[in-house]
Amino acid sequence: MSIVNPSFIEEMSRFTEFNAYACINCGSCTALCPMGIDLLPRRMFRHVMLGLEDKVLENTENIFSCLLCKMCEENCPKDVPIVDNIKSIRWYINREIFKLGRN
């Protein structure tokens, strides 16, 4: 059972843009990931868009395991800004959960 937070994506995009609407869930990204993280990025982006905050937070280690190497982004047929999206999720966790930042 997951709890849906309808304003999750708005909160996520409050300071940085989160944009994964063009994703067609083709799986090129996960097939090419050197870390073999099958959850990132497409399923994780879906969790964000559906407001499944708890699913996102359960996977904090995977989110910080991304190499930001852009192998996925280079081969994304829909040009989703994958690395920027990952960094937006990190920024949300850093700010809201870890309380890291200037304030």
């Binding site: 940085t16 395991s65 930001l68 190497c69 192998m71 890291l100 930042g101 200037r102």
Partner: protein, 325 residues
């Protein structure tokens, strides 16, 4: 036991906010490489190290420590460590480095300076005024700390009336060339990697590199910045035969380095895979990023693959080592 991501990132953030760098690096350590090279202070064009080569020995030491504690009871105490680190710089003890390691990376920076001098590029250096660009904090998504630091770095560079910077590694190149302009209003700085500068120069080889070299492209140079042909051109002009591994150019494969601070064991697995690809292509490989260099070098330790920084090859081909800079 879960990796204490929050506390490790917290220590890096505190260090950047309090001490100006994610890991301890004294001014004598960050500028020591330039000793005796007679590079003028400041100028319209400066070499900008961004401290990446100088920080590698500290990052390696930190990674060893994180790796040792990854699954131990000690990881529970990172939170206390972070609190103490705000007052006493304990990360200095966690990142104890040896002189040979430091000399190796300083040597790479000296190579780059010698290459630029040989290409008759007129450049200065900001010495102790130069700051780390904040790459690690940017990558980990600690945006407000990064943005504050980036403005400080830019103000410092402009205080010295610098108009052009020559960067020495892919991460600093990407920060100053592509990331800073997005967050700093009216950003005015021309940024080029030394590989671009050398490729555009009339540098002529003094010695032929009669060698097959397997090239490892940095993800950041290749996919972020499109710097792909320049290192090949410089090595081929010197007579080297470039061997392309399974993943190369825009399809290059990561060295694992970006996650070494948090997950050294995962980083090593990625580095092992890449070393396997490079080894199946040849015996001698070349890197162009200090992070790639240290990760692949460690993974290649027992398999016989030679890993060298591109500056080592280029200085051998293009420079008269008897001529000091």
């Amino acid at each position: 036991m879960a990796v204490p991501i929050k506390h490790i990132l917290g220590i890096l953030v505190d260090n950047l906010s309090i001490r100006g760098s994610v890991l301890p690096l004294s001014k004598s350590r960050s500028t020591g490489w330039a000793k005796g090279l007679d590079i003028p202070m400041g100028g319209k064009t400066v070499i900008y190290t961004g401290h990446m080569y100088q920080l590698i020995p500290s990052i390696t030491a930190m990674e060893k420590m994180t790796s040792k504690f990854a699954n131990s009871w000690i990881s529970k105490y990172y939170g206390i460590g972070r609190m103490v680190n705000k007052v006493i710089n304990i990360s200095r003890f966690m990142t104890w480095t040896n002189a040979n390691e430091r000399a190796k990376f300083d040597g790479m920076l000296r190579n780059i300076a010698l290459l630029l001098k040989t290409a008759e590029v007129d450049f200065g250096y900001l010495y102790g005024e130069e700051l780390y660009t904040g790459t690690l904090v940017y990558d980990e998504g600690i945006n407000d700390v990064f943005e504050y630091h980036a403005h400080k770095v830019y103000e410092r560079i402009k205080k010295h009336n610098v108009e052009r910077v020559i960067t020495v590694d892919p991460h600093t190149t990407d920060m100053l060339k592509s990331v800073y302009p997005k967050i700093i209003k009216d950003y005015q700085l021309e940024v080029k990697s030394y590989l671009e500068v050398l490729a555009e120069s009339n540098l002529k080889p003094l010695k032929t590199l009669e060698q097959d070299i397997v090239i490892h492209d940095s993800c950041v140079y290749a996919r972020y910045e499109g710097i792909i042909d320049q290192p090949r051109q410089l090595l081929e002009n010197a007579g080297a035969k470039i061997i392309e591994p399974i993943n190369s150019r825009k399809m290059t494969y990561c060295c694992g380095g970006p996650v070494e601070s948090l997950f050294p064991i995962k980083a090593r697995t990625v580095a092992d895979s890449r070393v396997e690809q490079l080894t199946s292509a040849g015996d001698s490989s070349v890197t162009m990023c200090p992070i790639c260099y240290i990760n692949l070098k460690a993974a290649a330790e027992n398999n016989g693959l030679s890993v060298k920084d591109i500056s080592d090859y280029l200085v051998e081909a293009y420079c008269d080592r008897n001529n000091s800079v």
